[in-house]
């Protein structure tokens, strides 16, 4: 079994309405020292697989096809046995 953590973030040039709104909210709550805030996704999953490289290639495939939207997002992952 493998444990994967996937971090999905919006590409830099893509507008992040959520992040912008939260940043604005923090400002009005007197947290004015947050020059930048962006919101992405954090996905935790298990892969029932015995071979690391197979697990990894499956994870990549899933990231590209389903978990992230490569047109507007980037992804990154950690994969570990356990």
């Amino acid at each position: 079994m493998y444990q994967a953590k996937v971090y999905i973030t919006l590409k830099d040039s893509i507008l992040d309405p959520q992040g912008t709104a939260v940043k604005g909210a923090l400002e009005s709550l007197k947290y004015q020292n947050i020059p930048e805030l962006r919101i992405g996704k954090y996905i935790q999953l298990q892969i029932d697989e015995t071979d690391l490289s197979r697990a990894e290639s499956q994870l990549k495939e899933m990231c590209e096809k389903i978990l992230s939207n490569p047109i507007i997002e980037n992804y990154r992952y950690d994969l570990s046995e356990g």
């Binding site: 040039s13 507008l15 309405p17 912008t20 507007i72």
Partner: protein, 731 residues
């Protein structure tokens, strides 16, 4: 930067077009200027292939206050009120990124309505996807529907109607057309004009970033595998920002100091500034350093072409800039004075004290080349086979129960509840006839007895067989839908989706389609108040079926007279208005059951169409009808089922000999037909009126308490099992 041939073609400009730019300027353009011309002279912004044809459309009429030319058309409904409406396509963006593509389409069309000073009160959409079973279609369908929902629900504009078709020709090129309707106090109407030398130009809304760069040019390019690389052209919408923009713009529309307003749609700052200046017969100077920016180090080129969403450009009377800016700030929006109106007819763009572009404003918006493209009747038309050549119908052993179940399970015919249930169709508390209850939605106008009926329609298979008649039918059916709730059709907004106009066969389809729309709009007295053209809808060289889409608005003087399509009471008598013919070519039945297309599209007699519509409307106004439902895809059998299931009643239909084949009796898609039901008390008066009008009609049966549909000895099915097949569309 040197302007090379490669650079010119990367901007989708021909060498002749480039020469024309040089002639206008009397010199070589700067890179920024080249970019500005390239987007404004793109097909999407300049209508260079379609202009001559669009001029054919009827645009004036008794109720029309503003036809094409402004951001949206305006229709007078009396009491000092007017309706504003327009259709917009977001086909290519939705093919690349369905959620954001559809969402930003909704955002864009809403801004066209608010620039007029109107409050958006309804959204509709027309969707075309490829084969329902393919995973890609599922992905696109889900993404598009949730994008429309995500945006429309959040801004608080109800999505009250639409249509969804599945056809293989859209596999690579889905269509997403959205329509927005707004209401306006006529006295507050705003135009997209810049006037008065020295008046300040104000930028308002969201910040400018790199997203969606070159989207306008992108929208006019053929889609091919290369498009995957055009990724940054996809924009992300911020419906929350849009909601704030709606409120702020409405507030400012009521101020006397507002002179003009324009949304930054395709080609953002360039199109809005040059169009406003062009309309005011003047010029404008802009200082890009003052533009609220999201990304660091934006170049003038990027800022002039950025298609960041949720932005507006305004001109106010000098001295009122602070007041205007204050309104936007109150709503939490960015706003800044970024320039002023000039008398010299030039659009002058400065960046950090340097002039980066200076061009005649009108040359961008008005002087794009216009092409009279050659047209040629497509060869495929000669290869089409009529079903009468191919198969014989009415085989004794056909089980029409099975057939009906299959036709109902076609996703094109099936219930669209899993789609519209994702849309907030009630916000605003004006939606009096809800999705699924009738052929058109009905919105009440608070403070009056009036209502407006809205429908969007178009059958592209008919248009493939015969784009002229198909175009006519789109108008006729949209009008019929509106009539079926009890409203008088007043005006049209159209979305013209076709393939590559440089292909003479495609251009012929386009020409025929427009001429068909023209003739039907003239006959039904529903002028075209605006619309959208989307060309180059092709994937790897294969064009979609010609797909004109008609948005129709009708007025109802007293909404208490409204009628829906569901049968109401057992023992009501069912009539079919209009003529039923042996017309299975192009039908959904033929497609689903025999996997064939046929040759002819159904005939349309506009004279008869008008008579049928007027008769139905009069019957409704005399309050003689319990229900009314237009016959469309799936013909009589499907219409009967729909009236049964929405009214939770059965029907017993006895037609007897008609001369039609059994299949045609049940599934023919003959036009100009309406299914009505009449209570026994109203029967005499209704028949008397029908006789007096001398339109073809038939009494065909009765509404029953028992929950089943019986049609002669052809069909006898419990509604429950029919309903199961009909609910095949799952999201």
């Amino acid at each position: 930067m040197e302007i090379t041939k490669d650079l010119i073609s990367a901007h989708n400009l021909t060498l002749e077009e480039y020469e024309k730019i040089k002639t206008i300027l009397g010199r070589e353009p700067s890179l920024t200027e080249l970019g500005m011309y390239s987007v404004l002279w793109s097909e999407h912004c300049s209508y260079k292939s379609s202009k001559p044809l669009l001029q054919e459309l009827p645009v004036v009429g008794e109720y029309i206050l503003e036809g094409p030319g402004e951001n949206a058309g305006v229709i007078d409904i009396g009491d000092g009120l007017a309706i504003v409406m327009k259709v917009e396509s977001h086909n290519h963006p939705s093919a690349i990124e369905p959620y954001e593509g559809a969402a930003t389409g909704v955002g864009g069309i809403i801004r066209d309505i608010i620039t007029m000073g109107a409050r958006p009160i309804a959204l509709l959409n027309s969707l075309r996807f490829g084969n329902y079973k393919s995973p890609r279609t599922q992905y696109l369908l889900n993404g598009v529907v949730s994008g429309i929902a995500g945006y429309g629900n959040c801004v608080g504009v109800p999505t009250v109607g639409g249509e969804t078709y599945f056809e293989d020709c859209y596999d690579g090129n889905p269509l997403v057309n959205v329509m927005c309707v707004g209401i306006l106090e006529t006295k507050n109407m705003v135009r997209a004009v810049a006037k008065g030398k020295g008046n300040p130009v104000i930028y308002a809304g969201s910040t400018t970033g790199r997203d969606g760069l070159g989207g306008a040019a992108f929208a006019s390019k053929e889609l091919n595998d290369q498009s995957e690389k055009d990724r940054p052209a996809v924009q992300v919408g911020d419906p929350f920002m849009e909601k704030l923009l709606i409120e702020a713009c409405l507030e400012i529309s009521q101020q006397d100091y507002l002179i003009g307003m324009q949304d930054m749609g395709a080609a953002g700052l360039t199109s809005s500034s040059s169009e406003m200046a062009g309309k005011g017969e003047g010029g404008m100077s802009l200082d890009l350093s003052a533009v609220p920016q999201r990304d660091k180090n934006l170049s003038p080129y990027e800022m002039m072409l950025s298609e960041s969403q949720e932005r507006m450009l305004l001109v106010v009377k000098s001295g009122y800039e602070d007041k205007a800016v204050e309104i936007f700030h109150k709503w939490g929006l960015k706003a800044a004075v970024i320039g002023s109106v000039e008398a010299n007819a030039l659009l002058t763009v400065k960046h950090k004290d340097e002039i980066v572009a200076e061009v005649p404003a009108k040359s961008l918006s008005n002087d794009a080349p216009v092409y009279n493209r050659p047209a040629k009747k497509p060869a495929y038309l000669d290869g089409l086979k009529s079903i009468s050549d191919a198969i014989t119908f009415g085989k004794a052993n056909t089980d029409f129960n099975e057939t009906l179940l299959k036709v109902l399970s076609s996703p094109t015919i099936g219930s669209k509840k899993s789609i519209y249930q994702q849309y907030d169709y009630m916000v605003g508390t004006n939606t009096v006839v809800l999705p699924g209850q009738s052929d058109a939605a009905l919105m009440r106008i608070k403070g009056t007895q009036k209502g407006i009926a809205l429908s969007i329609d178009g059958n592209s298979r008919y248009c493939y067989l015969n784009p002229f008649t198909g175009g006519q039918i789109a108008v006729a059916e949209a009008a019929r839908n509106v009539v079926c709730v009890g409203a008088k059709p007043l005006a049209v907004t159209d979305g013209l989706n076709f393939g590559n106009p440089e292909n003479p066969e495609v251009f012929w389809q386009f020409q025929q389609g427009v001429m068909g729309i023209k003739s039907a709009c003239e006959a039904l007295e529903t002028p075209v108040v605006g619309g959208n053209v989307s060309l180059y809808n092709e994937t790897n060289g294969t064009a979609i079926y010609p797909s004109p889409i008609i948005g129709m608005m009708g007025l109802m003087e007293d909404i208490d007279h409204r009628v829906t399509m569901g049968f109401k009471n057992a023992d009501d008598v069912i009539f079919l208005l209009g003529d039923s013919l042996e017309e299975l070519d192009g039908s959904e039945y033929l497609k689903v059951i025999h996997d064939m297309m046929g040759k002819e599209c159904p005939r349309l007699d506009l004279g008869l169409e008008k008579e049928v519509q007027e008769t139905c409307l009069s019957l409704i106004n005399k309050r003689l009808l319990s229900s009314a439902h237009d016959l469309s895809e799936g013909g009589l059998a499907v219409a009967l089922f729909e009236s049964c299931i929405t009214g939770d009643k059965g029907a017993n239909i006895v037609i007897g000999a008609t001369g039609l084949s059994d299949a045609a009796l049940l599934f023919s898609e003959s036009q100009s037909r309406i299914l009505i039901s009449v209570s026994p008390e109203s029967l005499y008066e209704a028949i008397t009126y029908l006789e007096y009008k001398e339109i073809p009609y038939q009494q065909i049966g009765m509404v029953t308490k028992g929950k089943s549909l019986k049609i002669d000895d052809l069909i006898d099915q419990p509604l429950e099992s029919l309903e199961k097949s009909w609910k095949s569309l799952v999201l």
